[in-house]
Amino acid sequence: MSSVIRIDQVFCKGCRLCLEVCPRGVYEAGTERNAKGYLAPAAARPEDCIGCLLCEMTCPDLAITVTVIKKEKKRCAAS
């Protein structure tokens, strides 16, 4: 499973709670400051996302939007 993770640069205040709550280490601390001077994190490994939405629900500024992409189940070809 993978997800499309969008981090709103206007809303994010760089508290890093998303780095803490993510069970799969999808996020990485940011290196570049946004317009307000905060270090917004980056979703470095969206392919590892399991879609638990803990980051989205914990974010105090509603800056994270996770869209889970479900992979289609592989089916065995009828023999």
Binding site: D8, K13, R16, T58, C59, L62
Partner: protein, 273 residues
Amino acid sequence: MHPLAEKMLRKSALPSIYCPGCGHGTVLNAYLRAVDQLGIFDQISHVGGIGCSGWTPVFLDSDTIHALHGRALAVATGLKLANPGRKVTVFAGDGDCTAIGGNHFLHAARRNIDLCLIIMNNEIYGMTGGQAAPTTPSGARTQTSPHGNPEPTLDACKLAVCAGASYVARYTVAQPRRLTRAIKEGLVHKGLAVIEAVVQCPTQAGRYMHGTGSPVELYRIIKEKTVDLSQAAGLKPEELAGRIVTGKFHQDPSQPEYTEQVYGLMDRARGGS
């Protein structure tokens, strides 16, 4: 912008005034989810007091009253009695609700009026400069107790149960799903629903009480201190000292509700059945 923010928040008030990593934002996040799942946003009026918690209704694009310090419940009681068809949610802080508005809290619980009260407990007066609140842990260092808080701590949930509130629950920001579920239950509950959300305050409680201003560290501290109600039953009182017991403490939908009682009385006084 998050779709929920797009749908329900007042764009002119954003981004929120909360400090980076403030737990109040997580409670607002859970509240938006709960209301969105129920689909009743246009039926709710929001009342807030003074303090960081009092700002929460300001961000909601709905009918909003920003009341005096501690008087959020008093204003909400008037709103509910004047318009009983309206759902009312009250956002109050720990100091706002249990100290300055302690009287209103007690009597709202005693009357069991149909409100959803969300107490955001950060264990301190955050916005006014970090003074000790009734919920501040005993011995904690704050701006008004530099040598340690000499007072014992008040448990808002126990008080609500004793005073007669018919739905009482407590969850922390580290339990966002349970918190959302509790808010949902509180919104549909008939009677006073008290939901205490334990939140981190990096700026005041964090720096002076816990010695760290990092939201992540404070989040960990809350997580470590949390004990579920089912586990707490087997622990001694001394083992529970300083811990945060979370869960649903009380739910009794059969208790008489104040608005119904008042309108019933008015009907009887007019000579109705």
